[in-house]
Amino acid sequence: MNSQRRSLVLALPGLGWLTVFMIVPCLIVFFFSFFERGVYGGIEYNFGFDNFLRAAEPIYLSIFLGSARIAALATLIAVIIAYPAAYAISLAPKDRQNTYLFLVMLPFWSNYLIRTYAWIVLLNREGLINKALGGAGIITEPLPILYNDFAVITGLVYNYLPFVILAIYASLQRLNPELREASTDLGAPAWVTFLRVTLPLTLPGVAAGAVFVFVLSIGNFITPDLLGGGRIQMVGNLIYDQFLSARDWPFGAALSLILIFIMMLLLFTQAVFVNRAQQARAAPDG
């Protein structure tokens, strides 16, 4: 009883913060989404579901699907790069691992906008990469590698990669080395051990990292704006435009709700997945 009360007191600042800055704003978004834009912006309080119907129009659906495609590609590439990196770090001598993790996190010490802008310097027609390739005689015409899907996906992978590495590294750390030893002792070649022991047991980490990249990517609007040169429209940009250019807050609120719903669904699925994996792992022990 006493410890329960103590937990409650300790949780209060966190709960208060979440209520004021998360739950209340979400409720306001929810509330606005059922009304209409006035002719000059602002909100007309006529209740209806028009904004949600409008979100289902082909043009907006295609933006949702396009964003999902870009986010999915970014997720896939991030996982493919992050897994071996996390694996390599987990195999490194214990005293070096923290240094490597520190290096992985290092980019976060600089501003997101600056990191993203740096890619423009690298990728543009007169940029470092094109100049280097041109100078080396490998290409004659500059490669169009900025202001397109490629640039946006590159930017997203670059920015979210550390999260995936950390998530996978954490699950590799938790893996009991005896399981791998047992597999080897029983005659399994290294790749079989990896595929049948290591990989399945670290999938929750992969899933956590993947969901993280996907959720952050699909709602991102700075990267598509800067690296897509305004030519790539993602849901985040669409929502941004509703608030800051179309002045259609109710429609923007409805789009935000849909996006929040998609994110929650993904996080929930991932939580269920992790839960099940933990139970499966716990079962043989007892």
């Binding site: 704003p25 834009r37 912006g41 609007f221 305004g230 429209q233 800051l244």
Partner: protein, 359 residues
Amino acid sequence: MKRIFTTVSTAALAVALGAGAVGPWGLGSGAALAADKIVISNWDGYMPKDLPEKFKAETGIEVEVALHATNEEIMGKVVAGKGKGYDVLFVSSPFAEVLHKLGLSAPIDHAKVPNFANLYPEAASLEYDPGNTFSAPYAWGTTGLCYRSDLVEGTPSSWNDLLNPSDALKGKVTMLATDRWLMAAGMLAKGYSVNETSQAKIDEVKSQLIETKKDLLAYDDTTFYSKLVSGEASLVHAWDGWCNYGIAENDDIKYVIPQEGTDLWVDTMVITAASENKDAAHAFINYILSADNGKWVAENILYKVPNKAAMEALDGGLLASFPNLDMAPADMMKQEQLRDLGSAQKAYTKAVTEITASN
């Protein structure tokens, strides 16, 4: 007009819409409490940094400068909060019109702004507000083509040079992203009004702009001139004053108004109806419209000001370096002025969404 750098700060608005940003919950910046203080909102970098200080030294009135990235952003705040907390707003003319229609602007008392006498007569007959009854013009200019004369063959002369670029220019042109100007380029190329509201014509222009998108390097409202300087782009859709920032760095950069004509845009100063300090707000506008300060604004931001006394005092060397500063008001008045579209604005927004989302 400047969207990129404030994206981060405005992200908070888009995500956490409530908690301070919206109507009944009150607006961020507090109302001017002291009688000797006003709050203005302007675009970043669109006013000499030292003006508020100099104004305070002269009048004792303190000026708090808030910044907005776009017209739409400040409109969002003002419409939601009924203008509370702001005294003077810098907005483009169609938005000044909206503020007026919504009753959010205060009438301008010319007796308190004697410096209106400094303005060109043309500046008093702008069709969105003849006689400057609810707005005072701050800067004006045209929208056209800004290009690298050393990279573009010949002189671009038509909006079609932008919309259907030659093979050599494909992938090296940018267009403005703001809906009114993006659509205006298409409307003008087809000989329509920049205020066209017919759905059929909007659709026609939309199809053209979807085609154009394939040849675009990017949509860019803010850094187009640096793309010209770096050579990433050769021809960009630009506001004349902003083209000057490119010319300042590379004198091969030139500005031209296409033969089909263009729009005359006016950025204005509007006093909010909610202002609790209208005398100070009038004093501020009067200060800006003085010959000396008008001159300093033009020299500092390289945009034309509608201030005859100020423009005539400009140094000849400056006009030679930036020829578009020297455009005669009578010539500018030949261009069509952007007007508020009313309910047709929705159709523009949707068309622009379809254009930018197209593949």
